[in-house]
Amino acid sequence: MMLNEIVSTAVKKFGVGREQLLPVLQYVVSQEKWLSEDALLGVARAFDMSAAEVYGVASFYSFLDTKPRGDYVIRVCRTVSCDMAGKEAIMEALEKTLHISVGETTADRKFTLLETNCMGWCAEGPAMLVNDYVYTGLTPEKVVDILQGYMAGA
């Protein structure tokens, strides 16, 4: 779908009342992985809101990205329980396998590596998200396996 179709589909689905701004932005992210300048402007126009205001709302939420993201967005929990359970080694394995640092996206735009705050899996840390899917009880070996699955196109 073209960007303007995505926006108009979202607007048709949810409406343009102020309280629908979040669902519309979430829908665009679900399709595009991130909110580009054109996407934010398109939403602002549809809602008859200032572009700065839409950007302000988007920038408040960690899951409404305003920077380009890969097909698979990996978010490693950085909160204290996961950290103590070995998050550092998980991050190292991810960085080494993907050849990127945290905050970056691979050149083929397939993976983005980020950190996230607590997801509530403290009992089974370290934990990470790949898009909407949670992986827990991670080890560096497990992480490489998971990545290889996605690289193979899983």
Partner: protein, 592 residues
Amino acid sequence: METITLTINDIAVEIDKGATILDAAKKIGIRIPTLCHHDDLCAAGNCRVCVVEQKGARTLQASCVVPAAEGMQIYTNSRKVREARKTVIELLLSEHAGECTSCYKSGNCELQGLAQEYLACGDAFIDISDKSPIDISSPSIIKDDSKCIRCLRCVRTCAELQGVSALWSTHKGNKTKVETFLNKPMHYVVCTNCGQCVNRCPTGALTERNYIEEVWRAIDDPEKHVVVQTAPAVRVGLGEALGMGSGGVVTGKMVSALKRLGFDSVLDTDFTADLTIMEEGTELLARLKSALQGRKSATFPMMTSCSPGWIKFIEHEFPSLLDNLSTCKSPQQMFGALAKTYYAEKIGVDPAKMVSVSVMPCTAKKFEANRPEMYSSGFKDVDYVLTTRELAHMIRQAGLNFADLEDGKFDSIMGESTGAAVIFGATGGVMEAALRTAYEIVTGREVPFKNLNIEPVRGMEGVKAAGIKVENVKDEWKFLEGAELKVAVAHGLVNARKVMQEAEKGMSPYHFVEIMACPGGCIGGGGQPIPTSPAIRLKRAEAIYEADEALPLRKSHENPEIAAIYREFLGEPLGHKSHELLHTHYTPRNRT
């Protein structure tokens, strides 16, 4: 109205239900310090400087947002309050780059004032001020995030008073910032340069871009002939910035000060305000003529074009309605174009050696002077625009004791003006001035209002509407016989938008609409002395009408220098020369 009674520092106070503790304290003359609170804006309660102690409450209360309640016992100056406030101020200082010795806002900075009052320590906490580069992209406004304390007055101003929201609160927690869309430079977003945010910023995070050094350099250059023009609203604001209290008319002292600063010609934007009335009034009558005689189509309502913040607003937000705008340049730009042509020729100065400076109540005028359309004289028509505040600064630098200056007189040729021009400074003033002249052109009689004061277009209501019946017209205006001229006046862009939305739907009942970007009109402009409040603007507006009534001539067409310029140079209103020098066109812009 239901009232409640509480005590503040053991003094009983009765106040309307719904009022805040801060309101109650004000009522009995107790000052509670505030930063994020502003009389023009909705409550925010985010800075916590206004905390007070409530007997029996576990925590301190932010007095600007907590409603006063029956039986409350409030203490505004206990040890607990004083210590908390000091810490709050020190925390604010930790996120503020306190370069007080070099800061342009020094001396008029609310944070600096409070830090001094509470003897707060600038480095009590680690420095977490923002390190982004200063945004100097705009010719009007400088944004320095390192001085921002995130009180969000600017964000509320841009949203509530102007309906523009060029600035918004972005990110969260300790990363919260005030940003434009995608943090683009101010020059590349929908900002209208109105400067209302500058008027309300409690620190030096948002200031006007000042051209003080450039103007001094021009004055110091013996080769240059420096011409200065002063806008109507400056004469009712300047005194405030020089310790004289609000509401005084200081025209004479201002002229003397400008002469002592070394300007070679001290002239008056009011002259071109009168000229604007001649051009814009004629344009309105011409539009009515083509509409009513049905020969050509004409676009209504015609809208005024004096306010450059408003012009940029319509270019961004309603580009399909640009034909509604009068083609008249603003008085500042008419003046600039004439200074380097007509005036230069009259006084025998090479326009290449002329520097044209204007003193404006406005920050958007700086942007306007830099527009590519504004080179009709063959040179940059207005070289530098100073705000009222910058002129006050120069007067202080020069060591002049402003209050004691004698009353000076504007130089001639472009220095004479009428009461109709002075009232350009207040909302409704351009409309009133235009009606005084247009009605008289058409009927041969003065407008049917007592003492020429057209009260229905005066005052601080956001949108004002009026109708004026045109009867017993002169022969050449027969087509207007019995017509009712419907007009509206809006000030503050949030009100302008209401009028524009009506026009966009083709539902506007008006023939002529005056719009000023700033609340109260130019007297409340973004270049006027800080602070501003509804009460201060009311005083400035009263001073404007006082100045009007004090002048012997009160109708633009009676200005003898206006008659002279048409006779000797321009020919007639809307004539060839006028088109070349006094009229302009507009540019559609996007909504980023």
